[in-house]
Structures are given as C-alpha cells and as structure tokens.
Symmetry: C2
Subunit: 196 residues, 2 copies
DNA sequence: ATTTATTTGTAGTCACTATTACAAAATACC
DNA sequence: GGTATTTTGTAATAGTGACTACAAATAAAT
C-alpha cells in the first residue's frame, strides 16, 4: 500500500519514522511539549537535525504525528465506552475510571498527552492539542444530549473538568487508587443527574 | 516601620516595588510564568534589566514576591471559609464556589495563579508554587479530618482535583456560570460522603 | 561645592532555541 | 564501473532566554 517511490535511490534511512514517533511521544508525554527541545529528540533518536527536518518538517510537525499516533493507540476509546445500550451515567463513569487508569499507567509520564498539550506555550502545538480535545468534548456532549438533552452541557462540563483535574493530579504524582477514588466520586453525581 | 536606611543617598527609585509586584502578578497570571520573559516585565515597568535585578534578584525572586503578594490579597481565604461552626460539606462547597468565582473573575487571566504555576517548566518557580499548593491542600485535608477522619483523604483529593479542573477550564475560557455549575455538582458529592 | 552612595542606561555575555547551507558519503540504477 | 539520487554529518544562522560589567547620572550628606 505504501508506495515508497522516492526512496528507491540513495542512502537508506537509518531510523524508522514510526519508531521515532513512538520515542518522541514518550518524550513529549513525560516532559511536555515546551520542555522537549529538538536537540532532545535528535539525541534520543541518534540522528542529526537535517534528518529530523527532512522527516518531520518542524517540531510541531512531529507533534502532529505524535498526536495522530496517540489517537490510534492510546487515546480513550470513546466510541467503545460511550455505548447506546448502557445507561449514560454508567458509561460516563466507566470513561472516568478508564481515564484514571490511563493517566496513572505510566508513572514517568503522568496525565493525558492531549490535555497537557493544551497548556503549552507554542501556539501551533497548543491549537493542535485543543482541536483534538474539542473533538472529544463534543463527542461526549453529543452522547449525553442524545438521551438527556437538558442536562447535556452541565454534565459534559462536569466530566471534562474532572478529567482535566485527574490529568493534573496524575502529573502531580497521585497514584492510581487516589485517582480512581476521585473518578468514582464524580461518577456518583452523574448517576444522580442522569437517571437511567 | 520601614527603615529605608539604604536609600538615603543616591538617585531615588523611579518605580515602586509594590506596584511592580502587582504589575508582574498580572503578567504572570495572564500568560503564565514560562511565557513571561524578564524583558516583558522590564518593558511593562519601564525600567532596565539592572534595576530589575537590583530590586528582585532574579526572575524566580520576583515570582516569589508575586506569590507572597497574591497570598495576602487574592488567595481563597481558607481560614474564613472552612469554619468549625458549619457542616464540613457546606464549607467545602462554599470553597469550590468561591474558587469558581475567583478563577473566572478576570477574563484576561484565567484560573488560579498558583495551580497554573505548579505546571511551569522552571524548577524553582514550580516548586515555589507547589509548596504553596501543598500547604493549602494540607489545610483542607486537616479541616476535613477533624470531623470525618475516615473520609478525609478521599474528600480532600476530590476537592483538590475539582479545583485543578476548574482552574484549567477557566484558563480554557469557560465562563462563570459553567464553572459554577460544575462546582455545585461537585458540592453534591461532598454532602453525600460528609453527612452533617 | 565637593564628596559619596546609589541607580540608571548602554551594551554586552553566555547558553540555548529552532532551523538550515553545504559538501562528503553511500547506495541503487544503468 | 559510472552516475544519479538521497541521506548524512558538520557547522553555522538568527533569535531569544536570563543575567551582568561598567561608566554616566543623580541627589543627599558634608
């Protein structure tokens, strides 16, 4: 499927772009977009700046690739969790628990890659992360609105705020049990305002 | 009270350090520690770098002064809100509402100065903010533990996480009604797990 | 008026940032 | 084997970050 027409001649690549994206994802997740320099990335990959810019174009270019890769591999599977055949509050509670587990899963890289990315100083990177996050929030709000239109905004805001808080606390070092306890408390409210 | 022994001779100051701290506070709150350069501060104050370093020592030195000033003027008055003569859940709910109001009060500077400061890349500034935040969290946890020891950690974590989320969402542009609605939903859980 | 203490303005240092010019090196094609 | 094509390594560029050396300027104290 991948026609590598432009790689038939010349020196072969010394690094696999796919693996490079995975490595970069680890760096960005652990230290945040701002704190990771291009030199950090090239050092970690064992390549030099020209190879980096030939492959990714720019730092935000790499970040975009990282976000795409993350969406395909580590993002919360909203479409699977927010199902039409379970009560809305139950599904949302499951989503919050899933978030807590993911945010705490890697102690070296706390929190959500995207939520943390929405807070970086670089305009381009921040908007890329914001776009992804807005999409997820719309998905959640629409899911709620389908069965509880009058409570959709309130509930969606509550859920989003809780997830932002969970990500921040995961980054601050809270372990899984503590995050999970908070997620479950938040789930209680949802059961109240979104009766099955 | 202020013995300005060392200012008896020489050229008088062209700027008031107190007012300078207030101006710096606005800058840091609006754009965050990382995004504000020393040049931004000196430009805003109409002074030159040597005057800045003579007055504050360093960028984190100024930030410390800003945090102190903030503690005295704009911090949530925990000691007033978390009273012994009201139910714990009621007081905590009032605190969350107060946080929502403060975080949304200045549309140009969303969120909590300290909570946002705990996420900057500079080690010194981050730890200064973290220290302040840890103190506040301990105060809250102790307040809960006095009457609900078994639920203290769970409730304190939930409150802290909610506040982090509120600050993040305020920074993302949520207006007061939305923040307030979320704060009130969080208050409901507290009423459940901390019965009067 | 002269001395003295202090701040100011100019200009610079040094480290680091993202990004790129250029030429040597290495491979596939003919 | 020769050539075309592409990547690589070296090194540089332009910009910005925090911070400072130094001498002129100023005003109080004498």
């Amino acid at each position: 499927m991948t026609t590598n027409k432009s790689r038939t001649r010349g020196r072969p690549r010394r690094f696999d772009p796919e693996a490079a994206v995975a490595t970069a994802q680890r760096l960005f997740h652990a230290r945040g977009y701002d704190a990771v320099s291009v030199a950090d990335v090239t050092d970690a990959l064992g390549i030099n700046p020209p190879s980096f810019y030939a492959a990714f174009g720019s730092k935000v270019g790499l970040y975009q690739r990282v976000l795409d890769h993350w969406t395909d591999t580590e993002a919360i599977p909203l479409a699977d969790i927010l199902r039409a055949d379970v009560p809305v509050a139950t599904a949302l509670a499951a989503m919050l628990e899933d978030a807590a587990r993911r945010y705490a899963s890697d102690p070296a890289a706390g929190g959500c890659l995207v939520l943390e990315g929405t807070r970086c100083t670089d305009d381009g990177a921040r908007e890329a992360a914001l776009t992804l996050n807005l999409g997820a929030e719309s998905f959640i709000r629409d899911y709620i609105a389908a069965r509880h239109p009058e409570a959709a905004e309130e509930a969606a805001d509550f859920v989003s705020t809780t997830m932002s808080g969970l990500s921040a606390k995961a980054r601050a070092g809270y372990d899984l049990p503590r995050l999970l306890a908070t997620a479950r408390l938040a789930g209680r409210v949802l059961a109240q305002i979104l009766p099955a």
